[in-house]
């Protein structure tokens, strides 16, 4: 309940700060918010744009939810997204399902590199996952300039993938995949032994260990699941939207996933609302750039406000916990 209020408050704050910034830059705050709103939800086309943006955001958000819940700071959704997209392209000649599976496996393998370094060499995953993002970006740059470059070799991009996700009402099936994943993640966390152990590991690893839970194995599985979801996000984006691989494929979906997860209070179902909010925010910001020349980077700014607000509210709440008498 409190998490819901914090989320709504943070989202409102992001819009308010945005309007204030616009006022400082000489625009009318009401107009800016109006354009933002119209650009995101004002027409069927705008709504479609919002939903298309929300799909990868929901998946990367769920990736972060699962990892954070297990107490692992997976900041690597971006890299896992990218390797997922590459694997999906390579799997696409074998059909959509094979392509998606390949994306999930690639994401899981990529995140597991960080797990291995954490469990065996005690390397903090906050660093290793970020560094693996850079490696993934460079691998993508290399494949689209080299081995997977399109046959005409005109642009640094691949040929279109051999298969695509089916379209439902002009929106690709990734919408269903992402919502199903959110429900599955909720079910996993709150209705299964695996989820109970995963949450206990995140909240109090020592108590989890003493209660007989294999904490390293739990962390490894959570990271694999988390990476797989980000990999699927990359696969869905490739087979549903871009169809080709190119260097700026991820455009920060992985990092935005952190904002989605935090705004949702790390709740899988809350992530649906949170992803839609950010999807709308990004889409509206694009419209803002086209009509009033305010940079679409304002969306990133909004995300930062949300993250800060949620983290600050969380810190305030925990500092007031009652002591044991």
């Amino acid at each position: 309940m409190t998490r819901l209020l914090i989320g709504i408050g943070a989202a409102a704050l992001a819009i308010a700060v945005l309007a204030m910034a616009a006022a400082l830059a000489g625009h009318s705050p009401a107009d800016v918010v109006g354009v933002l709103f119209d650009g995101a939800l004002g027409s069927p086309l705008a709504i479609r744009g919002t939903i298309l943006k929300s799909i990868p955001l929901l998946l990367t958000g769920l990736c972060v939810v699962i990892a954070f819940r297990a107490g692992v700071w997976n900041i690597g959704a971006e890299g896992q997204f990218i390797v997922g997209a590459i694997a999906a392209w390579m799997g696409s000649p074998y059909g959509t399902i094979a392509s998606m599976l390949a994306a999930a496996v690639a994401g899981a393998v990529w995140s597991s590199i960080a797990t291995a370094m954490r469990l065996w060499r005690n390397a903090p995953e906050v660093l290793t996952t970020i560094l693996l993002n850079f490696i993934a970006v460079h691998i993508l740059g290399w494949v689209v300039n080299g081995p997977l470059r399109e046959t005409s070799a005109r642009y640094p991009q691949s040929d279109p993938a051999a298969s695509a996700l089916p379209q439902l009402a002009e929106i690709h099936a990734g919408s269903l995949i992402s919502i199903a994943t959110a429900i599955a993640a909720w079910w996993l966390l709150y209705r299964t032994t695996e989820g109970l152990r995963l949450r206990a590991t995140g909240l109090n690893p020592s108590a989890a260990r003493h209660a007989g839970i294999n904490v390293p194995a739990q962390i490894a599985r959570a990271m694999a699941i988390s990476g797989a979801i980000a990999g699927v996000a990359g696969g869905v984006e490739l087979l549903g939207v871009t169809h080709r691989l190119f260097e700026r494929l991820a455009v920060g979906y992985g990092y935005s996933g952190i904002a989605v997860a935090l705004l949702a209070g790390l709740h899988p179902l809350g992530s649906i609302a949170s992803a839609l909010f950010f999807g709308a925010f990004v889409t509206g910001a694009g419209e803002l750039q086209r009509t009033s020349g305010i940079s679409a980077a304002i969306a990133t700014f909004g995300q930062a406000v949300v993250i800060l607000a949620v983290v600050a509210a969380g810190a305030l709440l925990t500092s007031r916990k009652p002591a044991d008498a």
């Binding site: 109970l196 152990r197 949450r199 003493h210 209660a211 839970i213 916990k321 009652p322 002591a323 044991d324």
Partner: protein
């Protein structure tokens, strides 16, 4: 000096402190006793300005030092660095040498022996850590010193040292509040005994006018549970031991106690025992409840299900409900956050979780530390029942009374080494000497 009038504090549904008025004069030693959850710590944290009261007025003395039951030490830092942290000077250059010289002077002034101040705080024994906490509190030269269960991890000798320090402080006009539920101890040190029960002060008498029985009666609520007399009969049949490490052997229906001052290798021993028996689950009751046994943010039902092979939300809730009744856990229901319960009730959760699986071997480390009389008796009873039902119990404790009350066989652990097995009949004087390292 300290003046509390009509102090009230609520945590959610619970009224932790209920309209309390109290005044303490300089140089006075006040024993504050009561069961777990009676509100002693909460009241004193309000005095120490760590919590804000919801209602009432307070006049505080100038400097207050409080020693908590839980350590507030940075384990990665040395003793000297930990002591340097209490310095409130706005800005100052520090060198390792000056920190250590200051620390040595501070330790000296406190009158407490602590040894080399360049040791890392994390490596100290529990007894030494609590001494460090006390030194930290005394270093500010407090006019009011609050000690929360300071003797729970100390040996009798260390407790005597602590009492000496307390008396010495009061001669300089410091008032001391001594929170405890060990009545004999309070009677030894306090000049005045204040009893709290469910957030209220129910008795406030000078030491000379009260007895252990009166205090105990005031502490415990009317609904004192009747306990079955004595321990149930045990089979004396000697089978192959369930567990064997060095000279220690644990059989079915047997309680083996390992007594020793905290920090003498108990942790290593526990880890070794767990390693020898990976295939069967050991029922394990860790020493540090909040760190090792309870996930405070999770519900009671979820805590009870930790480590279960199979779990479903509905079956888990039903099982939690029956365990809450069976183990008399005082809670609003299975969905209440475990972290909101008192220490005694948290320990009951751990007990319920670990014993309900009917483990062959139970390892219990300081299972009654910090618990009140009623909860202690309850824990002992449940452990005895499990042993009567066929389990073997390894009890690791620094409380000799507990060991003698429960154990069939005792070992003393000192600097990582186990003594020969002793029987309670022969151990009485020997155990105390072995614990202090005198053989």
């Amino acid at each position: 000096m300290l003046q509390l009038s009509h102090i009230t504090k609520r945590f959610g549904q619970t009224l932790a402190v209920d309209d309390v008025s109290l005044s303490i004069a300089p140089g006075q030693i006040v024993g504050l006793v009561g069961e777990n959850g009676a509100g002693k710590t909460t009241l004193m944290r309000i005095v120490a300005e760590e919590l804000r009261a919801d209602g009432g007025a307070i006049t505080r003395p100038e400097r207050i030092g409080m020693v908590h039951q839980h350590f507030a030490i940075v384990p990665e830092m040395t003793i000297a660095e930990n002591l340097a942290l209490i310095d409130r000077t706005a800005f100052r250059f520090l060198s390792l040498g000056s920190i250590e010289r200051d620390a040595e002077a501070t330790v000296q002034r406190s009158g407490i022996a602590l040894g080399d101040v360049s040791r890392r705080a994390g490596e100290l024994s529990v007894g030494e850590k609590s001494k460090l906490e006390l030194i930290k509190a005394i270093a500010v030269d407090p006019t009011l010193l609050i000690l929360d269960e300071p003797t729970s991890v100390l040996t009798p000798m260390e407790s005597a040292e602590l009492f000496g320090v307390i008396r010495d402080r009061t001669r300089r006009g410091t008032a001391v509040v001594f929170i405890s539920h060990k009545v004999p101890e309070v009677l030894e040190i306090a000049q005045r005994v204040v009893v709290m029960q469910r957030g209220k002060i129910v008795a406030d008498t000078p030491r000379a006018e009260t007895t252990a029985e009166t205090i105990a009666d005031a502490m415990v609520t009317g609904a004192r549970a009747t306990s079955p007399a004595g321990s149930p009969a045990r089979s004396t049949e000697r089978s192959t031991p369930l567990l064997q490490v060095d000279s220690l052997a644990l059989h079915r229906n047997e309680i083996v106690a390992i007594v020793g001052v905290a920090g003498n290798g108990q942790t290593d021993l526990i880890e070794r025992l767990r390693a020898t028996r990976r295939e069967t689950r050991i029922g394990f009751i860790p020493e540090d409840r909040t760190r090792d046994a309870i996930v405070a943010e999770m519900s009671i039902a979820e805590n009870l299900a930790l480590g279960e092979r199979r779990w479903s939300k509905r079956a888990g809730a039903a099982r939690a409900k029956s365990l809450i009744d069976l183990y008399r856990i005082r809670a609003t229901g299975p969905r209440q956050r475990a972290g909101d319960l008192s220490g005694g009730n948290q320990q009951k959760i751990v007990l319920a979780r670990e014993l309900d699986r009917r483990p062959e071997v139970i390892v219990a480390a300081e299972p009654t530390r910090g618990l009140d009389i009623e909860a202690t008796r309850f824990v002992h009873e449940e452990l005895r029942k499990a042993v009567a039902a066929g389990a073997g119990l390894l009890l690791i404790t620094s409380d000799l009374d507990e060991a003698f009350a429960l154990a069939d066989v005792l070992h003393v652990i000192y600097r990582g080494k186990l003594s020969e097995p002793l029987t309670p009949a022969t151990a009485a004087e020997r155990a105390g000497r072995l614990m202090a390292g005198i053989s």
